[in-house]
Symmetry: C2
Subunit: 196 residues, 2 copies
DNA sequence: CAGCACGGAGAACGATCGTTCTCCGCGGAT
DNA sequence: ATCCGCGGAGAACGATCGTTCTCCGTGCTG
């Protein structure tokens, strides 16, 4: 039906690809609809036929980013054998991500910082993304036979690694988080003293 | 010299107080100079005499916030006896902060997410703030007699707690981070097995 | 070939924002 | 009492942006 001049992707995908790259690199408010038109090659008229407003495009961007990000994580994690190794694989995936040349932190944290105070939609999508990530880690912890109390510390390490990698421009935080996670897993497997 | 109608604070302080509250609550770009004029009661003409541009005001806001934030942390930490307890006191201070009614995450992370991709000044100030925090934690770790390798994991826990508390609207992450930090400190004090 | 619906390019419009300018009233000096 | 200069209120200006509209060329239908 609709001709696809670049590749086999639909016009909507081309728009979302271009918009996603720009939004992530420069921030939501800094990217105008005109820049998206230029990057996607889709006319303004068609843009507004596909998405009724910039807000709707931002929402679509965040929803798609959530899917893609969690999909890539799951694919990486599920390539390693079931067990505690899958928990550690989360940090390996983070390390891969941090090393990507255009990495600039978590799109949801960035969007929340920019618009979370004003836009309930953006705030809600960011919360939903983090909740889904936490649930995923909780499932991995459970499947590894580790106590559920480990979930929150492990999530905090991941979250801290993302922010620290973004600000410092280094992929090192992934290794630090992974090592700390291993210590936590060991500490709970081999109970030392539990001080008050 | 300059009359201070509200309290003993200078006009510059009144501006920075008002601008800081607005910038933090709504984001940098969402706050216009007119809103700052309204909130501070300082005329536009005087605003531009004190700060040559909005960018300069943003920079002054971030510099002052760095000072205040780290000052409050140091005051809290130094109220507890020297030793490992001071490391844990960091997370207690975070818990206090998270419970403040207008808490909305780290102002530097938020600003970086919004303008870090565009403004080298904002990116640099955010990096400097995080570096200073890391150095402070490193000093506490050192003073506690703990190995320096603990610094990075402890910082990741703190960073993750800040982000998670902001997104979830809960102060719980401070407790989780504190407990994980205690386990890490214990694990290194009482060496269990160190697997490869 | 004439008529027509569609889509693209980009102008137009209204709103907002950073920044500057104008106008006016007040307080101090002579 | 008159003049002067400072500061405030807010209009003005130029730029940008989201959104819509106009105009034109193109390809299909009879």
């Amino acid at each position: 039906m609709t001709p696809s001049p670049a590749a086999g992707e639909s016009v909507e995908d081309r728009v979302l690809d271009a918009a996603g790259e720009l939004f992530y690199a420069r921030g939501l408010q800094a990217v105008g609809m005109d820049a998206i038109r230029g990057a996607s090659g889709v006319s303004l008229k068609r843009l507004y036929q596909l998405f009724p407003s910039k807000d709707a495009l931002v929402e679509a961007y965040l929803r798609r980013r959530d899917e893609h990000w969690r999909g890539a994580l799951a694919r990486h994690v599920e390539a390693v054998p079931a067990g505690p190794g899958r928990v550690l694989a989360v940090y390996d995936r983070l390390g891969q991500w941090f090393a990507e040349p255009d990495f600039r932190g978590c799109a949801f944290v960035n969007s929340f910082g920019e618009l979370g105070g004003t836009s309930p939609v953006v705030a809600g999508l960011a919360r939903a993304h983090k909740d889904a990530f936490r649930r995923y880690v909780a499932d991995l912890v459970d499947a590894a036979g580790a106590p559920a109390t480990l979930t929150d510390p492990l999530v905090l390490l991941a979250e801290g690694a993302i922010t620290t990698a973004a600000l410092s421009g280094s992929a090192e935080p992934a290794r630090h988080a992974r090592e700390a996670a291993r210590v936590l897993l060991d500490a709970v497997t081999t109970p030392g003293r539990t001080a008050g």
